[in-house]
C-alpha cells in the first residue's frame, strides 16, 4: 500500500504547488472567478472533462455495469449525450452574454434580484447533492486504500474537505482548472491501461470477451442464474422499468447543460470560438472515457463476478478491485490514488461554482442590489462562502455515512439541473416572451418537484426486510413509483416556465431580447480576457 500512498501524496503535493502558483498569479475578481478568461481550448476541454468525470463516473459506473450489465451501460451513454446540447445551444451564447454565473444570463432581461436568488438556490442545491456523492465515494475509497492504517471514513471526508477548501480559497478558478486538467489526463491514462489489461486477458479477441459477458453466473435472491450482460432489463424491469429508463434519459439529455459547475467553465476561456472548440475537446475525452468504462464494467462482471462484488465492499469498489486483480497491488494503488484525485478535482469544481454563485448572485446582486462590490470584497465573500460550503458538505457526508451507490446520488443533482436550470436557461436565450414570472415559476417548480419526487420515490422510501445491509431513509411504501423523476419534473419545469410567462407581461424583458440575441450570437460587448 505504500505505492498507493506515494502516488496519492505526489498528486496532493503537485496540486498544492499549482494552488500556490495560482494564488500568486491571481489578482482581482475575474482572475479568481474565471481564471482571467485565458484558458485555451484544449485546456478547457480537459478541465470540463475533469470537472464532469466524477467519482460517480468512475467508481459508481463500473460497479453499476458489473452488476446490472446493459442497464449500467445506459448511464455511460447518458453521461455523454448532454454535451451535444452544450455544444450546439449553450456554450457559445453563455460565454458571450454572461460574466461569472448562469444567473448572469437570466438576469440579463429579467428582474435580477428574484431570478438570481432562485438561480443561486438551485445552484447550491445541485452543489450539495453532487458534493455528498463525491464525499461518500472518497470515504469508501480511503477505507480500501488505507485499509489497516486506522484512517477511516470520517477522517477521509474531513481530509477531502480541507484539501478542496484550500484549492478553492487560495487558488480560485485557475488552480481548480489545472487540478482538473491533470486529473482528467491521469484518469484517462489509467482507463486506457486498465482497458488494455482486461482485453489482454482475452488475448485481445474482442468476440471472446463479449462471449464471456454473455454467460455470467451469479446468485439472485438465493438462486443461481446465468445472464447475458449485454441484454437490457437486468435492473429496469417491467412494470415501471421502461418508464424509469425513459425518465433517466430525459435527465441525461438536458441535465448536463444545466449543471452550474460545468457552465462556469465556459467563462474561463477568452471567447465563444474557444468555448466551442473546448466542448469538442471535452466530447472526445469524455466519449472515449465512457466507451472504455463499458469494457471495464463488463470486465469486472466477468473477472470478479457480481457475487464477489456484492460480497466485497459493495458496488463502488469494483473498478479498483479489478485493477488489483489484473495489475496487482501497485496498480490498485495507482488507480485508487487517481480515483481520489478525481474526487478532489470534482469537489473543487463544484465548490467554486457554488461560492461564485453566492458571492456574485446573492451578495453583489441580491443583497447589494447589483451595485458592483470591490473585487477584493467579492473575492473575500466567495472565500468565506467556500469555507462554509466545504464545512457543510463535510458535516452532511459524515452524517450520511458510506452507503448507496455514488452514481445514483449524483444523478439526483443532475435531475435538478435538468428540471430547474435547463428550462429557464434555454427559454431565456431563445424565447422573446419569457418573463420574470416564468423564470420564478420554472425554477421553483423544477426544483421543488424534483426534490419532492426523489423523497417520495423508491430511493428514499421503502420497506426493508429485517437484517438488510442498506436501509431506506423512510420505512414506508414509496408514493412515487419511479427511481428517476425526470419524466415528470423536466416537463413540469418547462410547463411552469411557459405558463408563468404567458400569464404575465414584461415589455422590458421583450425589449432586451434583441440585445441578448445580438450579444449571444456575435460576442458584442462580451467580457474580455484579463490578467
Amino acid at each position: 500500500m505504500t505505492i498507493a500512498l506515494t502516488v496519492f501524496l505526489a498528486f496532493v503535493a503537485s496540486t498544492l504547488g499549482i494552488t500556490y502558483w495560482a494564488a500568486k498569479r491571481s489578482r482581482g475578481a475575474s482572475a479568481y472567478f474565471a481564471a482571467g478568461r485565458r484558458i485555451t481550448a484544449w485546456q478547457n476541454g480537459f478541465a470540463v472533462a475533469g470537472d464532469f468525470m466524477s467519482a460517480a463516473s468512475f467508481l459508481g459506473l463500473i460497479g453499476l455495469i458489473a452488476l446490472q450489465g446493459f442497464d449500467g451501460i445506459f448511464y455511460a451513454v447518458g453521461g455523454f449525450v448532454g454535451f451535444v446540447a452544450i455544444l450546439l445551444v449553450v456554450a457559445e451564447p453563455l460565454r458571450n452574454s454572461g460574466k461569472y454565473t448562469m444567473g448572469d444570463v437570466l438576469a440579463y432581461r429579467l428582474q435580477p434580484r428574484p431570478v438570481r436568488a432562485l438561480a443561486a438556490l438551485s445552484t447550491l442545491t445541485i452543489a450539495t447533492l453532487y458534493m455528498i456523492a463525491q464525499m461518500v465515494g472518497a470515504g469508501a475509497l480511503v477505507a480500501l486504500l488505507l485499509a489497516g492504517s486506522g484512517i477511516g471514513y470520517n477522517t477521509a471526508v474531513v481530509g477531502v474537505g480541507v484539501l478542496m477548501t484550500v484549492y478553492v480559497v487560495f487558488g480560485g478558478m485557475l488552480a481548480t482548472t489545472w487540478v482538473q486538467i491533470i486529473k482528467a489526463m491521469l484518469l484517462l491514462a489509467c482507463t486506457v491501461v486498465l482497458t488494455g489489461l482486461v482485453l489482454k486477458h482475452f488475448h485481445f479477441h474482442l468476440l471472446d470477451f463479449f462471449g464471456a459477458t454473455s454467460r455470467i453466473a451469479y446468485h439472485q435472491k438465493g438462486e443461481l442464474v446465468v445472464k447475458d450482460f449485454l441484454e437490457p432489463g437486468l435492473h429496469y424491469r417491467p412494470p415501471h422499468g421502461p418508464l424509469d429508463l425513459l425518465s433517466l434519459s430525459l435527465i441525461f439529455a438536458f441535465g448536463t447543460a444545466g449543471l452550474p459547475h460545468i457552465l462556469v467553465k465556459f467563462y474561463t476561456v477568452p471567447n465563444a470560438r474557444t468555448a466551442r472548440n473546448s466542448v469538442v475537446w471535452a466530447m472526445v475525452v469524455i466519449g472515449s472515457y465512457y466507451a472504455m468504462t463499458t469494457i471495464l464494467g463488463l470486465g469486472a462482471a466477468v473477472l470478479l463476478g457480481p457475487d464477489d462484488i456484492v460480497a466485497h465492499s459493495g458496488t463502488n469498489m469494483a473498478g479498483p478491485r479489478l485493477a488489483q486483480l489484473l495489475g496487482g497491488d501497485i496498480f490498485l494503488g495507482v488507480v485508487s490514488a487517481v480515483a481520489f484525485a478525481t474526487i478532489l478535482a470534482v469537489v473543487a469544481g463544484v465548490m467554486i461554482s457554488a461560492s461564485t454563485s453566492f458571492a456574485h448572485d446573492v451578495w453583489t446582486n441580491v443583497i447589494h442590489h447589483g451595485v458592483e462590490r470591490s473585487p477584493r470584497e467579492s473575492v473575500a465573500v466567495a472565500r468565506i462562502a467556500a469555507m462554509a460550503v466545504g464545512a457543510a458538505a463535510v458535516l452532511i457526508a459524515v452524517a450520511l455515512g458510506p452507503g448507496s451507490n455514488v452514481l445514483i446520488l449524483a444523478t439526483f443533482g443532475m435531475a435538478v439541473a435538468a428540471s430547474a436550470n435547463f428550462p429557464v436557461l434555454a427559454l431565456s436565450l431563445h424565447w422573446r416572451r419569457f418573463t420574470t414570472a416564468g423564470a420564478i415559476a420554472g425554477l421553483t417548480a423544477g426544483l421543488a418537484a424534483t426534490l419532492a419526487l426523489i423523497v417520495a420515490g423508491p430511493n428514499v422510501m421503502g420497506i426493508d426486510p429485517p437484517g438488510a445491509i442498506s436501509r431506506h431513509l423512510i420505512q414506508a411504501r414509496p408514493w412515487f413509483p419511479l427511481e428517476n423523476v425526470g419524466i415528470v419534473s423536466v416537463p413540469l419545469g418547462f410547463l411552469a416556465a411557459i405558463a408563468g410567462s404567458l400569464v404575465s407581461r414584461e415589455p422590458g424583458a421583450e425589449a432586451k431580447f434583441d440585445e441578448l440575441v445580438v450579444r449571444a450570437n456575435t460576442g458584442l460587448g462580451a467580457e474580455r480576457a484579463s490578467g
Binding site: 445506459f74 451513454v77 462471449g211 437490457p232 469538442v280 466530447m283 466507451a291 445580438v518 480576457a529
Partner: protein, 123 residues
Amino acid sequence: MDSPQENRPSSSTPGLDWARIAGSQPFKRLLAVKRMFIIPALSFFLLSFMSFVILVAYAPKLASMRVIGTVNLAYLSALFQFVLGWMIAGLYLMASEKFDRLTKDVLAQTDRGKIDAPRGAGE
C-alpha cells in the same frame, strides 16, 4: 488587472442600437444560417438517442438480437451514440467557420463593434 469594464453591471452597455443590429440583413442571415444547422443537428441527435432509449426500454427482445458474435443491437446502438455525437461535433466545427465569417460581417457593419472589439483584449 481589472479593466474598468469589470466594475460596470454587465447588463447595461449603452450606445449600441441593438434593435437595429438585430433587424439588419447580415445579422438575420447569421441567425438563419446557424438555425439551419443547429435545429436539424440537435433534433437528429435527440431523435437518435430517444430511439435508442425506446429500443432498449420497450423492445428488449429486438435489442437483444445478436449481430456480431454475442454482441447485440443494444450495445452497438449504445456505441453508435458516441460516434454520432463526434460526427455532429465535427460537422459543427466545419459549419462554424461560416458562422464566424458571417459574424465578422455583422461586426463590420457596427461601428461600435470595431471600437469595442480590441478593447481590453491585451490587458
